[in-house]
Amino acid sequence: MAKRIEAVGVTAYYGSFKAIEDINLAVEPKTVTALIGPSGCGKSTFLRSINRMHEVLPGARVDGKLTIDDQDIYDPDVDVTAVRRTIGMVFQRPNPFPTMSIFDNVVAGLRLNGVKKKSILAEAAERALRSANLWDEVKDRLGKPGAGLSGGQQQRLCIARTIAVEPQVVLMDEPCSALDPISTLAIEDLMFKLKDRYTIIIVTHNMQQAARVSDRTAFFSIDRTGDPGRLIEYDATQKIFSNPGVKKTEDYITGRFG
């Protein structure tokens, strides 16, 4: 039940500062889309405006149109919490809830949204942990604190937590940047697996990672600091990395740019 995301003329502000301007792109269901570009070009900002996490910050707002299967995400009648359950998010730094056990972390989304039945929670926890390739490592210590896991395990725990609420889209903001190469590989494997069921959008600074995991790649950039970030090129990953249409993209992926 993965869904299609479409952005038309999306512009996002922090107070009076325009962070991204006029972003147009469409993400097809059950694909992995990579957002690449230099730091500060607005990748995170764009990602966070997709599940309305951008507006959590005081003064932050979004213009333009964002739709999920033709439903307007920013429609005034839309329930923000429903949007965020449909479009899950994994953060750069693993952020398991420190007061909760591994099990409680995984089912936090369900439980805090009113699911109480033990059998349902147990089932959902196992399913999510298996999907996140973490089940075998933690099945004997589900009652232990989530913060006691290694960084890579914590990140997979956060992924399990995200997919436990059965979203249709999963956003990942540099999910591997705080991890070692082995954990990174584990998460990349996981992305291939999750692609069967979810639409995935991932921000990454790692060019090889973008080339490995994604079907399409969007290159964002800024002209100067202080300018809003723009979408420079958006195409099949293979095309972007072998034969980019824009000179700037080529400079960036060959390392001749910021």
Partner: protein, 356 residues
């Protein structure tokens, strides 16, 4: 090449060190010298001897260490000696207070003290106890906590999570101002507002003292402490935790209730216990609006009540030769009560967290 350059560096890393016994020897010498100086000058007194000895020790240590180990090591030694002395200085009064309390309070640590009041106890009676005062303290502080803890935590949540702009800043400012309110002023406020204006309506037209009025005054004192400490603790909860919950589609209020508050709980408990400890030790407002009494009064809403702090005050100023012992034991009880409450609260808060 490498071996020749390495050798001098390796030796340069090691320097001459004072032997282990040197500081002890210097200390002994300094003390002996100080004793000779102080007594030789005919001043006497062990406090002065110790002080002069400590100063001599510090300078002696610095001088000897400079000569043997060099300036950097000497400074390190002197500073750590200074820090240790500061620690001892800080602990001395504390342990002295506890020692005095225990040694003087032990005399009346008996069943009569905890089981009877001061009703009908004359100056020549050795018995009498603080039962009425313990009841008063527990009820007044309990009610004050029931009022100020939920209110304070909610106010802190408002300030941190919801408050924006001028209104929230104004509230913060007034909470800061309230922190500095002298307890007697809180007592006067409740006297004027509750005892004189409101209580006549519930008391057949006559103003009346009550334990509840004392609880009101105490809650005025506790509120700012609870708000401020809770506020600090809530601010310490990392933003990514909140965002993690929001990203799961958890509404804001539930995120605060189920993620933010539990994470901040141990710190909040500490703040609450600090405020309770302060309230339990307040004398003036209780005297002002609960009046104090020698008899047991279980009803906090009617008639005079006493409290442990007030009991200490009244016994300490009493002319009976048996009163001071009662005062000491009551003070000991008060400290023990606060200690037990604090430990219990910390254990409870820890049980909520997971073992590492």
């Amino acid at each position: 090449m490498t071996t020749t350059t390495l050798a001098p560096t390796a030796t340069a890393l090691r320097g001459r060190r004072l032997p282990k016994w040197a500081p002890i020897a210097i200390a002994a010498l300094a003390l002996a010298l100080a004793a000779a100086l102080v007594h030789g000058a005919g001043l006497g007194g062990w406090v002065l001897t110790l002080t002069v000895g400590a100063l001599l020790y510090l300078t002696g240590l610095y001088a000897v260490a400079t000569a043997v180990e060099g300036r950097r090591a000497a400074r390190n030694r002197t500073w750590s000696a200074l820090i240790h002395s500061a620690f001892v200085l800080a602990v001395l009064p504390l342990s002295s207070v506890i020692w005095t309390l225990v040694s003087k309070g032990a005399e009346r640590l008996d069943g009569t003290f905890f089981g009877t009041s001061m009703n009908n106890i004359g100056p020549r009676d050795a018995t009498g106890g603080a039962y009425h005062a313990i009841v008063g303290t527990l009820q007044q502080v309990g009610i004050a906590a029931l009022i100020s803890v939920p209110l304070g935590i909610l106010a802190a949540i408002y300030i941190v999570e919801y408050g924006r702009g001028r209104f929230a800043n104004t509230i913060r400012f007034f909470v800061d101002v309230m922190t500095g309110i002298p307890s007697i002023v809180a007592g006067l406020f409740v006297l004027a507002f509750w005892v004189l204006i409101v209580s006549p309506y519930v008391n057949d037209g006559r103003p009346g003292y009550s334990g509840f009025a004392a609880a009101l005054a105490l809650s005025v004192l506790m509120l700012p402490t609870v708000v401020r400490s809770t506020e600090e603790m809530l601010r310490l909860v990392p933003a990514p935790l909140r965002e993690g919950a929001y990203a799961l589609g958890v509404p804001k209020w539930k995120t605060i209730l189920r993620i933010v508050l539990p994470t901040a709980l141990p710190g909040i408990v500490t703040g609450v216990m600090l405020s309770i400890a302060r309230a339990a030790g307040e004398t003036a407002p209780v005297l002002l609006v609960a009046g104090g009494t020698a008899a047991i009064n279980f009803n906090p809403f009617e008639h005079n009540q006493s409290s442990l702090a007030l009991f200490v005050y009244s016994q300490a100023t009493d002319s009976s030769k048996y009163a001071p012992a009662r005062a000491w034991t009551a003070a000991l009880t008060l400290v023990a009560l606060v200690l037990v409450l604090t430990i219990a609260a910390k254990l409870l808060a820890r049980r909520n967290r997971l073992g590492r």
